[in-house]
Structure formats: structure tokens, C-alpha cells
């Protein structure tokens, strides 16, 4: 199978789905400008015209309401935010309108709408360009929330979202845009609500969110080499609906679980996963479920503090060592932050 980047996978899903279904249109800040959302909306304006691909002013709340109206009237809008942080300006539309129309009308009205939003990291993104907020969105009934970490799921999830008659938030990570992976050329949907086991192992289950899967895979490689310990890495892919069965089956096998989130820990996704594991795997647990995530502060701007703010492969390695009562291995020769250091912008 051919390999393409995460960016190309998103682009291909949009091209194919907009070609299949003329009710789909895409809009948002800078969607149709010369940079085309880091290249992910390239060529859509030329192929589908300005009625189906256009840029909008800085007015997130109004533009989300506009999408809601379009969806209620039979279209399938895709609203794009270059940073998740600014979706917070549209929380009224999301939490009070879009999420609830289907339920409040007994299913007479549906809001088939896709909202794509990108997480920033590094390059001084700081506290207004680095949020993920998936636990806030996933808290609201009536919205699906997915966070693909590989090109294959990025394409498949977007296709599924564009064939779903519910509002779906697709949260992408900017540092994943250049990741290369095998993706079928045909439009193959990835089911919303299905987790993916990225690596199998019997020692500890690591449930990793978005970019944290890159860190978890790195940790798995070092742990196997240094300690001959094999961890199981599970990418939930979908936060809502959550594939609880895949996580539960893994934890019943390993008896141990770490949730590596790309978010603050307090009141976060890790707490939800930990609670479900305690409900379903209590007798099988050899250790309490451990949560990793951002430091409990706003994201700092300068790189040394940012490195202290984010959870990474080192934290996962040390956490596994503590759980398994292993002596900390020497990490001095290892290379970390490869995605951050490789990134050449622009943001």
C-alpha cells in the first residue's frame, strides 16, 4: 500500500467526500487563503468553487451558528479552526444548540456538521494556541469527538464524520501533519467509536491520546530494549463514543494501566478511563490506574518551561518502571522530542 502524510490523508478525504456528496462544503478562517490550513484544504477552491470552499472573518460563534443552520437545512458543513482554543468562542452554539437539536426535536432535526480543529505545540504557541479541550467537548451529550493520530485514521475518521448525521468534532495535532503512514487510496471509513491497538504487550496498558501515541510508541521501544518489558499501546481514536471494550480487554490482560493524555489531568479524559477501568477490571488490577498529562498550569511560552509542561516518553518510561518496581534505566543516549525538533513551521 502507498504511504502518504497525515496532511495529505485529510486532504484526500475532503477531496473524495466533496466529490461524492455535493451537500458538503468547507469554510472557516483562512480555509481558502494561499496557505490552505497547512495544505489540508489545497485545491478545494479550484475544484469545487467558492460556494463550497471559502474563508470567513474572525467570528467563531456566528460562523458556527451559520454552519448549524446550513446543517439543519440539509447541507453538510465542515467548519475549520486552525487552533482548538478559538472554538471556545463558539461554546454556546456547540453546547446549547448543535449538540441538542436532534434530541429536543425527537429526531426531526439533525445537525450533520463536522468541525475540524488543530492543536498547537512548540514554537511559542503558549497558553492561547495549545489547548486540546476534548474532555470539555466530550462531556456534552450529542457530539462525537475523535482525535486520530495516524494518517490512516485521519482519513478514515474524516470520511466517517462526513457520512454521519450527527455533529462530529475532529481534533488534529499540528505536529502530526508530517507523519507518514500507509493509507488506502480508496475512501475507506474508520468507524467512529473504535479504538486501535498500536502495539501489543502484556506488561502495562498505555492508553494514549493524539500526539501522546508517538511518545508511547517511543517509550515502548526503549522499555523493550532496556528492560525487555513490552507495553500495550492503545489509541482510543474516538473519545466519544469511547471503545471501552478494547481498553477493558487489554487491562484484564495486563492488570496495569497508564492513561497518557494530551491535556490537563484534573477532571480530564484520564479520570474517565480510570473510573471505567475500576468499574470493570477492579479484581484484575495489580496497581491503581495512573494518569499523565499537562502540568496544572497554563501552557508556558519558552521552550525550557514548555518541556517541563508537557508529558513525554520519559514520563511514561519512569511511570512503567515505578509500577513494575524496576530500577530507572539510563536514558542519557536516547533521543527525545524528535517531532518538536524536526518541525520547521510555519504555524
Amino acid at each position: 500500500m502507498r504511504s502518504i502524510t497525515y496532511r495529505e490523508a485529510i486532504h484526500e478525504a475532503l477531496m473524495q467526500e466533496m466529490g461524492r456528496d455535493s451537500s458538503i462544503f468547507i469554510y472557516g478562517i483562512d480555509v481558502a487563503d494561499h496557505k490552505r490550513i497547512f495544505g489540508s484544504t489545497k485545491g478545494l477552491l479550484e475544484k469545487f468553487g467558492p460556494q463550497r470552499c471559502f474563508s470567513t472573518p474572525l467570528s467563531e460563534d456566528a460562523m458556527t451558528g451559520f454552519g448549524c443552520g446550513a446543517a439543519l437545512n440539509g447541507l453538510h458543513p465542515v467548519h475549520v479552526h486552525m487552533r482548538v482554543d478559538f472554538m471556545l468562542l463558539a461554546m454556546n452554539q456547540l453546547a446549547n444548540m448543535i449538540s441538542s437539536y436532534r434530541y429536543s426535536t425527537g429526531g426531526l432535526c439533525k445537525v450533520p456538521m463536522v468541525i475540524r480543529a488543530v492543536i498547537g505545540k512548540g514554537w511559542g504557541q503558549s497558553f492561547q494556541h495549545s489547548k486540546t479541550m476534548h474532555s470539555c467537548f466530550a462531556h456534552i451529550p450529542g457530539i462525537k469527538v475523535v482525535m486520530p493520530s495516524t494518517p490512516n485514521e485521519a482519513k478514515g475518521c474524516l470520511i466517517s464524520a462526513l457520512r454521519d448525521d450527527n455533529p462530529v468534532i475532529v481534533i488534529e495535532h499540528r505536529l502530526l501533519y508530517d507523519v507518514v503512514g500507509e493509507v488506502p487510496a480508496d475512501p475507506v471509513p474508520f468507524p467512529l467509536g473504535k479504538a486501535k491497538v498500536l502495539k501489543t504487550g502484556a506488561a502495562v496498558t498505555v492508553v494514549a491520546v493524539s500526539l501522546m501515541n508517538v511518545e508511547a510508541i517511543k517509550a515502548a521501544e526503549i522499555l523493550a530494549r532496556k528492560h525487555h518489558v513490552h507495553i500495550e499501546v492503545i489509541d482510543p481514536v474516538s473519545i466519544t463514543p469511547l471503545d471501552e471494550e478494547t481498553i477493558v480487554a487489554s487491562v484484564k490482560k495486563t492488570g496495569r494501566c497508564i492513561v497518557a493524555d494530551n491535556d490537563w489531568v484534573h477532571c480530564g479524559f484520564g479520570a474517565e478511563v480510570a473510573s471505567r477501568i475500576h468499574e470493570r477490571c477492579f479484581g484484575a488490577l495489580k496497581d491503581p490506574v495512573k494518569r499523565l498529562g499537562f502540568a496544572p498550569v497554563p501552557c508556558p511560552c519558552t521552550r525550557p518551561l514548555e518541556d517541563a509542561f508537557y508529558c513525554n516518553a520519559i514520563h511514561i518510561i519512569r511511570c512503567v518502571e515505578t509500577m513494575l518496581k524496576l530500577a530507572p534505566c539510563d536514558l542519557s543516549g536516547e533521543e527525545f522530542y524528535s517531532y518538536e525538533n524536526k518541525f520547521k513551521g510555519p504555524f
Binding site: A295, P296, V297, P304, D307, A308
Partner: protein, 77 residues
């Protein structure tokens, strides 16, 4: 990050930029203050002082060491 004088990228035309530049609020405010009787020399001096402050602050920041990791949790609440 953000738009610059990259007019060839097609984001905005030079004409549009020039039109809005004529309405630059800083230039308009300067004109307004002079009209109200503020001495032009005083405005020029003020502009110079501000520029110096910005430049010295930039230099101070660039010459300063990076913060220690233990500063991470300062002044959250």
C-alpha cells in the same frame, strides 16, 4: 506567522494595503494631537522614548538566561 508584505501570495493586494495605511490610527492620532495644540517635538520625543524602551526590553530579554524548570508553577493562582 500572520500576514506580512507578501503581496505576491495573493492574500491581499498592495492597493488594499495602501488604502488602509492611509487610515493608520497611529498616524491619524498624531495629526489629531497636533491639531489640538500638542507640540510636535513633544510627540517625537515620546515616540523616541517608547522606541528606546521597546528596544532595551528586547535586548534585556534576549540577554537573559532561560528560566529554570521550577518556575513552571509560579503565579498560577
Amino acid at each position: 506567522v500572520g500576514i506580512a508584505e507578501d503581496f505576491d501570495a495573493g492574500y491581499r493586494s498592495r492597493d488594499e494595503f495602501e488604502t488602509w495605511k492611509k487610515r493608520d490610527p497611529l498616524a491619524l492620532q498624531r495629526k489629531k494631537l497636533i491639531g489640538l495644540g500638542v507640540r510636535e517635538d513633544d510627540i517625537t520625543q515620546l515616540e523616541k522614548d517608547i522606541r528606546n524602551q521597546v528596544e532595551s526590553s528586547m535586548k534585556k530579554a534576549q540577554d537573559a538566561p532561560f528560566p529554570d524548570g521550577d518556575e513552571l508553577c509560579r503565579e498560577v493562582v
